[in-house]
């Protein structure tokens, strides 16, 4: 970010002797406003509409398509409706904690956007402990959820809050351990550093660089889903049992805060996986025009993140819920040992091939492509069998 501003000042846009600090602050202010007001919060809203459309097509129905073109304004309408609702706080609820809980959860969602690497220059703060910052700040959700569960003065909310806290805290461990292989390979914790160590072609991505990283990528994805309270791990807000879990007593905008944080978390999950394992914003160097290349990298990053977001929605529509004891046993008995094995395996790999093994990259990439082709064949077989001409139209 600083280099970009420097190059703009050097280009003479601000006159002869500009006050550098003020211009930095101005740019950071503008950029963070754009990121938060223009990307983070609208994304949280738009993904609610997108999720409903994706689910609806999977469930052979249509989804919101009335409010605005293709129902695009549905999320704004929902937001306005929720703002107009009565703000109910139960009489015996702990009012200060009750009010503060959604803000904490929203904070855990908003703050990691500071290290979101949109392209090589568009990052708000390229901390040299970027990934560590990311994972530690997202853990603030636990505090907010526990507060919500307790302050609601409702036994069901309490159960939901405690389940959620246990789940998030447990799944932090495989998530953190799965970040280790990447850190071992690159030697740096900064987001841009990790992306720059990868290449633009898939066989240079860390996901395909060695088999342990491949497994670590999957474990990280699943743990990140569990941390974000998404199905198959959405037990805390299991609708069929606890109405809305820790958020039962909330109404109106307070309720929506929890869910905006959850939907927005999808982007963060996607960004985490993309940065660490899928090559981030890497794009082949086809021009030297800085602005153009930044735009192409931005598009690449968003495309990869949105694919992971779509994948999360797909999983949520398909899979049932895992019970709390099965969830815990999955984490502690399976994921944690596998993460340790990954870490040690990657350490041995890096000791043998410090600069990576391109052959392994090609082999794993080929395996990945084969898996994808087999999967698509099955999908196409079912499409052909179902004769669903109507259902193939997404814009009905």
């Amino acid at each position: 970010m600083q280099q970009l501003v420097d190059s703009i000042i050097a280009g003479g846009a601000f006159g002869k002797n500009p006050p550098h600090d003020l211009i930095y602050v101005l740019f950071i202010f503008i950029f963070s406003a754009v990121v938060f007001l223009g990307v983070a919060f609208p994304f949280a809203g738009i993904v609610s509409w997108a999720e409903r459309r994706v689910w609806a097509r999977i469930q052979s129905r249509v989804g919101p398509n009335r409010v605005g073109p293709q129902g695009f304004v549905q999320w704004l309408a929902d937001g306005v409706k929720n703002c107009c609702k009565e703000d109910i706080i139960p009489t015996d609820a702990d009012a200060p904690l009750f009010k503060m809980a959604p803000y904490l959860v929203m904070l855990a969602f908003v703050v990691p956007w500071a290290v979101m690497p949109f392209s090589q220059d568009l990052i708000l703060a390229d901390l040299n402990v970027g990934i560590l910052y990311f994972t530690s700040v997202t853990a603030l959700t636990v505090v907010g959820v526990l507060m919500a569960g307790w302050a609601s003065n409702d036994k069901w909310s309490l159960i939901g809050g405690i389940r959620s806290a246990a789940q998030i805290v447990s799944y932090e461990i495989p998530a953190g351990l799965s970040i280790f292989p990447v850190v071992l390979i690159t030697g740096t914790l900064s987001m841009q550093g990790i992306i720059k160590a990868q290449g633009w072609s898939p066989n240079h991505w860390f996901m395909f660089s060695n088999p342990f990283c491949f497994i670590a990528a999957n474990i990280l994805f699943i743990s990140a889903l569990a941390e974000g309270n998404r199905t198959p791990f959405d037990l805390p807000e299991a609708e069929s049992e606890l109405v809305a879990g820790f958020a039962t007593e909330y109404s109106g905008m307070r309720y929506l805060f929890f869910f905006m944080a959850e939907w927005g978390n999808l982007f963060l999950i996607g960004a985490l996986i993309t940065t660490l394992f899928l090559g981030g914003w890497q794009f082949p160097r086809i021009t030297d025009n800085r602005i153009l290349i930044n735009i192409l990298q931005l598009v690449t990053f968003n495309a990869k993140v949105l694919f992971i977001v779509f994948f999360s929605m797909w999983i949520r529509a398909t899979l049932p819920r895992v019970r709390i004891d099965q969830l815990m046993s999955l984490c502690w008995k399976y994921f944690v040992p596998i993460s340790f094995v990954d870490m040690i395996g990657t350490a041995i790999w890096v000791a043998i091939w410090p600069y990576g093994n391109p052959v392994a990259g090609w082999i794993l990439f080929a395996l990945g492509v084969v898996g994808l082709v087999l999967f698509m064949r099955r999908v196409i077989y079912y499409f052909r069998q179902s004769k669903m001409e109507l259902y193939l139209n997404p814009t009905i």
Binding site: W55, I58, Q59, S60, R61, K155, W156, I159, R163, T231, P232, D234, L235, A238, E239, S240, E241, V243, A317, T318, L319, P320, R321, V322, R323, I324, D325, Q326, Q385
Partner: protein, 372 residues
Amino acid sequence: MTTLRTEEMTLNMGPQHPSTHGVLRFIVRADGEVMREAIPDVGYLHRSIEKIAEKVGYHGFMPYTDRVDYVCAMFTNQGWGMASEKLGKIEVPKRGEYCRVIAAEFNRLASHLLSVGTMAMDIGAITPFTHALREREMINDLIEELCGARLTFNYMRIGGVAFDLPPGWREKALAYLDHLEPILSEYDMLISFNKIYVERLANVGVITAEEAIDYNLVGPNLRACGIKWDIRKDIPYSVYPDFDFDVPVGTGQWGKLGDSMDRYMVRIHEMVQSVKILRQALKQIPAGPVLAKVPRNFKPPAGECQIRVESARGDMGWYAVSDGSGYPWRVHVRTGSFAAMGIVQKLSRGLMIADLVTIIASLDVIAPEIDR
């Protein structure tokens, strides 16, 4: 060292709840996540239908029987029709019986589709619910053509059925059956090979065969415990002896015999058998009248009788007492869900709260049947 004193929580899974099948209330005594006991509290849907029978007469009671179990209204209709016919010694014409069987088996399909869909939704997967309801919509449309209603049909009368099959209906029904068969195998594959489903359903709520008989469980709940008992085969009524079908029994291959997975699979296989019966019935249906001549003021001689009908939720026992006047003296329905609720309290000990939802969904409990 002092041990921690933990209290037992008493939770209320209240009458309004997204997942209990109808208006059921459970008082759950839980120690954290593990339940000590879940005590059902029923009666929220009690409409005193049995007392209403004593006021409205034999013919007039037929629409009320729909509401005893609104998801399988055809079976309740058939039960009351058969009870009145046994009391009044009326013979239903052959075509009427075939129409009854066709309507009943379509209703069994619809009811099982709903049960399977809601069970998947209670476990957490939202998609099979919409797919099951998509198929059920087509059955509703078919039955709407037949009798005019989509849920509470009031299609059967004492002595037969109200309307004959409309022209062209047979072909539509057969086309629908062709459409449904591959989808049923899809449901089978969707659930049985999904590890998460198997983990949630297998070994949960195991009912042994002796317990099932002792608690008077019926229908798919009983067959899932390994007992091959189906009223249509064993105490045949109507024209069921004319059809060739199988009675699916639980196998216990995913867990113990008599767990929730068995109950689920028995329902899926029963749907396949229903399709088989329907095909045969639609082919073999003879010509003739559909309704026997029953006088308007139907006065069966004094007496009593008991009828058992194999409804989608199990064997529904109708006990009717007549005193010779045009109004029944006593009508009593013993439904499958009533018996199933009796066993929930015992099954719930030691399970988790998430499993309570699974048990209720797998026992296919419907609130109006319990309370009437």
